[in-house]
């Protein structure tokens, strides 16, 4: 007679934390921050409860796309050290559960956002989930080293969503905020890719560092940073910008450009000699870069009633 131990059930008894991990909480926190920024700087104010529910819906929608991504990518997650401990490859959550959670939360978040804010915002949220789960995860991620560039659009939608929740329409300012994250993603990610010893190649995911080489990746970091600067500065001359934002943005962009330039002129020998010090510094800087840009925009709007912010 086979003895059944209670320990045998361990793999099929996920805790609440395992389900929460499916939603990629760290990505959700960035989504919440940038969506809040879009909502705060919009020229139309929302009722605080409607605004809070709208932000929650956007966060849940982002989490839903994260769950769908984990469902689809479970096979490659299992083959990479960084992702092997995720709920599905580690056996804590079954793939079908992640799919069900992803689909259910997608539906809930889109419908609730439509009811709380407006249906244009709900449609954009639905498109964002589709873009991340289908266009990025299912199509681009395994087929092109430019996956991070086009896929980065999914992460760029939250401030636009926040804006549309408040105003019900899109404006150049909202698209520029979209552009800021869209252009920021490649140098941010490739700076990381340069110093992390990844096993994307073993998992069959084309990463620029492995398909085109590290020299080409350094060129790309500088190229995309050069393209990012005008987008970041342009926001300063719109209705949501002002002297404070422009000053903060100018300092951040000079520093970021300097970092990208330093990455570009180094070779692998130099990078290995100091254990990728410059690449790590630029990656850390890129996190502050985005946080401070959106922080400055919100501060500019908050100071406007006192005659201090804006143009």
């Amino acid at each position: 007679m086979t003895e059944i131990s209670a320990d045998d059930t361990r793999l099929h008894e996920p805790g609440m934390g395992d389900y929460f991990a499916l939603l990629k909480p760290r990505v959700m926190s960035l989504v919440v921050f940038t969506a809040l920024a879009g909502l705060v700087v919009a020229p139309v104010s929302m009722h605080p409860i409607e605004a809070a529910i709208a932000i929650l819906c956007i966060a849940v929608g982002a989490g839903a796309s994260g769950a769908l991504n984990m469902w689809w990518d479970a096979d490659i997650d299992a083959r990479m050290r960084r992702t092997a401990k995720r709920p599905i490859p580690s056996g804590r959550v079954e793939a079908g559960e992640a799919l069900a959670i992803g689909l259910a939360l997608s539906g809930f978040s889109v419908v609730m956002l439509g009811l709380a804010a407006n249906w244009l915002a709900a449609a954009i949220l639905a498109f964002t989930i589709f873009f991340y789960a289908v266009v990025y995860s299912m199509w681009l991620k395994r087929s092109t080293p430019q996956n991070i560039v086009i896929g980065g659009a999914a992460g760029a939608f939250p401030p636009l969503l926040g804006w549309v929740c408040a105003t019900g329409s899109m404006a150049p300012e909202a698209w520029l905020m979209f552009g800021l994250i869209f252009m920021w993603t490649p140098p941010h990610f490739w700076a990381l890719a340069l110093f992390v010893k990844s096993d994307y190649g073993d998992a069959g995911v084309p990463m620029l560092t492995e398909t085109n080489g590290r020299r080409s990746t350094r060129n790309h970091v500088l190229g995309y940073t050069l393209a990012l600067v005008p987008v970041a500065l342009a926001i300063g001359f719109t209705s949501i910008g002002g002297p404070l934002y422009l000053a903060v943005s100018a300092i951040l962009n000079i520093r970021f450009l300097k970092g990208a330039w330093d990455i570009w002129r180094r070779d692998e020998g130099q990078a290995e000699a100091d254990n990728y010090e410059t690449e790590k510094a630029v990656f850390r800087q890129s996190l502050y870069y985005l946080f401070l840009h959106f922080g400055a925009l919100m501060l500019e709007t908050s100071l406007a009633p006192f005659g201090l912010g804006g143009w």
Partner: protein, 72 residues
């Protein structure tokens, strides 16, 4: 002595059930709060009077005819 079998598995189940319960309560709270905000934001409620289910003698045909006759 009573047999008591407590396993980590039971803690996980309890945690999961509590979590789902709290999410459902939160969802009800969100829908209620949103409903209150939307209803209070309607503004002049009399604009919706025609579409409610309250008897309004002033819009019955006899009353309308009488008021039109009075106007002539």
């Amino acid at each position: 002595m009573a047999i008591r079998v407590e396993h980590e598995m039971h803690d996980r189940r309890r945690g999961r059930n509590t979590g789902v319960g709290l999410i459902l309560v939160g969802f009800v709270g969100i829908v209620f709060a949103l409903t209150v905000v939307k209803v209070l934001g309607l503004g002049d409620i009399s604009q919706m009077e025609r579409f409610d289910h309250v008897a309004r003698p002033q819009i019955e045909p006899a009353a309308i005819e009488a008021s039109e006759g009075g106007a002539q």
